[in-house]
């Protein structure tokens, strides 16, 4: 059991070193990508109903701004300019690095040529307009996840760029990510020494629950943890970590308090049924602790007793798994410093604030 630390331990005079593992950046308007798109698609966007991805992983207008100041961006899409990220995230937090995740719904594009063209444009835009302009930034490249071999080709194209540290994969997919159809993608990720960043959201035609479509965004949001859980089951079961042992997966905006009980059940079922998947030769929880990292927000924290969150952290069985994240500009409940990190022993808190992310992303 982890004992809560006395108040004040984390509140030293100098600001602790920090890496922010989940900062969103948005394509402000589709024409921002025109410098990076072929004429064919520029003409389509200008002359037809096609305007690039229009599905969103988040409700379009609800509480877009972080914090209480909801009017701060006044009509401009939050997180769509470098200056805003610098002013609102990098400078105030003092983060040495931040990982940008652009949640442009490439996966919603059924036309494969459109998906590839838009993914390429976003990656070139990320490099030219973000990574080249602030050396604190690193980015996840986007891929057409629905087309794994074409996604692998895009990783070959830009995966060597130094600021690209991760491949962004929406957690909602048409097939679970460990499926053999995705193995060319995992192979490319491993070859380029990138992290597979599985992020909240996704816009496939598959419903987000095993019992069909829910009515409310509320359910989609709350239920996204279960989509992560089934992806985790699948990735381990399919042998992704056996076949691609260098691969690390980062779960982003997944929450993490669901993970211990999921590992307990998964380990139990593996003991029962492992003859079906003989390549999974260790308990699933061992693979998870070795290969999976998880951003700390949303905290999904119990509100009545801070000790419960420390219990769950202890149950993870590893101080190496969690990564500090602000999830800017998405609204969050609770303050990870206040309700979690300051109660931890200094060495564990420091791992979560920066060391785990440095090791994962090679910073």
């Amino acid at each position: 059991m982890i004992e809560a630390q006395a108040a004040g331990v984390g509140a030293s005079a100098t600001r602790p070193a920090l890496v922010d593992s989940d900062v969103h950046c948005e394509v402000p308007r589709v024409d921002a990508l025109f410098p990076y798109l072929p004429d064919y698609w520029i003409e389509h966007i200008q002359q037809t109903l096609f305007k690039g991805p229009v599905d969103s992983y988040y409700p379009s207008k609800v509480s877009m701004a972080a914090g209480a100041d909801g009017k701060r961006f006044d009509g401009v899409l939050p997180a769509s300019s470098l200056k805003e990220i610098q002013d609102a995230v990098l400078d105030p937090s003092g983060a040495s690095h931040a990982i940008l995740n652009c949640l442009y719904a490439i996966d919603s594009l059924n036309n494969p040529d459109a998906a590839v063209a838009m993914a390429r444009a976003v990656n070139d835009w990320l490099i030219a307009e973000w990574l080249e302009k602030d050396d604190r930034l690193r980015a996840s490249m986007v891929v057409p996840v629905q087309l794994p071999t074409l996604a692998a080709r895009e990783i070959e194209r830009v995966g060597d760029y130094p600021g690209i540290v991760q491949v962004l994969l929406p957690v909602r997919t048409n097939q679970p990510l460990g499926n053999r159809n995705f193995h060319p993608l995992w192979s490319a990720i491993e070859r380029k020494n990138l992290v597979a960043g599985v992020h909240f959201g996704g816009a496939p035609i598959t419903p987000p629950t095993p019992t069909g479509w829910p009515s409310y965004y509320f359910e989609v949001y709350a239920g996204m943890a279960q989509v992560f859980a089934t992806q985790l089951t699948n990735i381990v079961t399919e042998g992704v970590f056996d076949q691609f042992p260098g691969v690390k997966v980062a779960f982003l905006e997944s929450g993490w308090t669901w993970i211990p009980s999921h590992m307990w059940r998964f380990d139990k079922e593996w003991k029962n049924l492992r003859r079906l998947v003989p390549w999974v030769n260790r308990a699933p929880s061992e693979y998870i602790r070795e290969h999976v990292r998880v951003a700390i927000q949303p905290l999904d924290a119990p509100d009545q007793n801070p000790q419960h969150l420390l219990d769950v952290f202890d149950q993870l069985g590893s101080e190496e798994m969690l990564l500090y994240s602000s999830v800017y500009p998405r609204p969050q409940v609770g303050d990870p410093e206040e309700s979690f990190l300051r109660h931890l022993p200094a060495s564990a808190a420091s791992k979560i604030r920066c060391e785990n992310a440095r090791a994962l992303y090679g910073l």
């Binding site: 957690v171 048409n174 679970p176 479509w213 409310y216 943890a225 992806q231 669901w258 009980s261 219990d311």
Partner: protein, 362 residues
Amino acid sequence: MVATLPEHSVRSRRTRPALIDCDFHNELDSIKDLYPYLAKRWQTHIETFGLQRPTGGYFPRFMDHREDARPPSGRRSGSEVAFSRSDFLDPYNVAHAMLIPLTSAAGVTNLDLGAALASAVNDWQVAEWLDPEPRLRASLAVAPEDPIAAAKEVERCGRDTRFVQVFMPGRTHEPLGRRKYWPIYEAAAKHGLHIMSHAFGSYGYPITGAGQASFYVEEHVGPAQAAQANVISLVTEGVFEQFPKLKFVSVENGFGWIPSLMWRMDATYQLYKDEVPHLKRLPSEYIREHVYMTTQPVEEPHKPQQFVQMLEHFGDMVNNILFASDYPHWDSDDPDFALPTNLSDEVVQAIHYDNAKRLYNL
């Protein structure tokens, strides 16, 4: 098959505390067991067209039943009340057991066949299980994708107080809270029946929220996620506002996920309550009052102390955990070994007996 069955009689019935088993399966040896309760028309239909269900849920897997629970007649394990009585109810001093008949009633795509099967299953339960064995209570079979017919079936059988809950599958075609199913809940509430959802059954969508799995392992871990989707739906749609006395019993889905689900749903409420103005309380408050879950399969932390820790996170919700054996399935739990040994006698007594006695008014 082994020549001699293990001797259960060494267990001392007199000193053993009573048990209530909330997942006890009455099985069909074959669909023909239902023929005495099915119109000739449906018998012919089944012989001609079979039991057509949504496709895509087939995996290599091993047995579904325990061989050591097979009756001497050679019929399927769990298909003879007399043998289940001597093999399980008597030796474990089971005071009451909740029958959960896993049949095709909820899963067949032909809704009239589903309704006919549900009625046949219920008549079969009364004649061949409830009448011969007074310790048994039953789950009322319905074909939920035709909710009007299902509500009629609840009306038809609900007056028999040995039916204690309406049986919904683990994966309905829509999340369980959707209004489509409310006629069933209205009929259940009218008769004081609970809603019970058992893992597996009635597919149509993949086991994950991200497409179909490849291995039966995933199909067997996944019900924990499906059950959470259903709890989220029941709470978010306002089912417990509309039917304030209704209880929801989640069976064979595990229960270790409940604390984190309540934390996450309460956080979601802080962010998005404007979307669900029909909710008057925190999601966790609805869950505490209305959601019950059975033990098997019990989550097994590597450190037994973490199980105690988990129950601390449950708080009062420990009183919503019900013992379940899942007899006679391959993964069923022996009541003597299902729970870790470091729990207090009070907690074990609550889970083994008191909680179910209170929930089902036994």
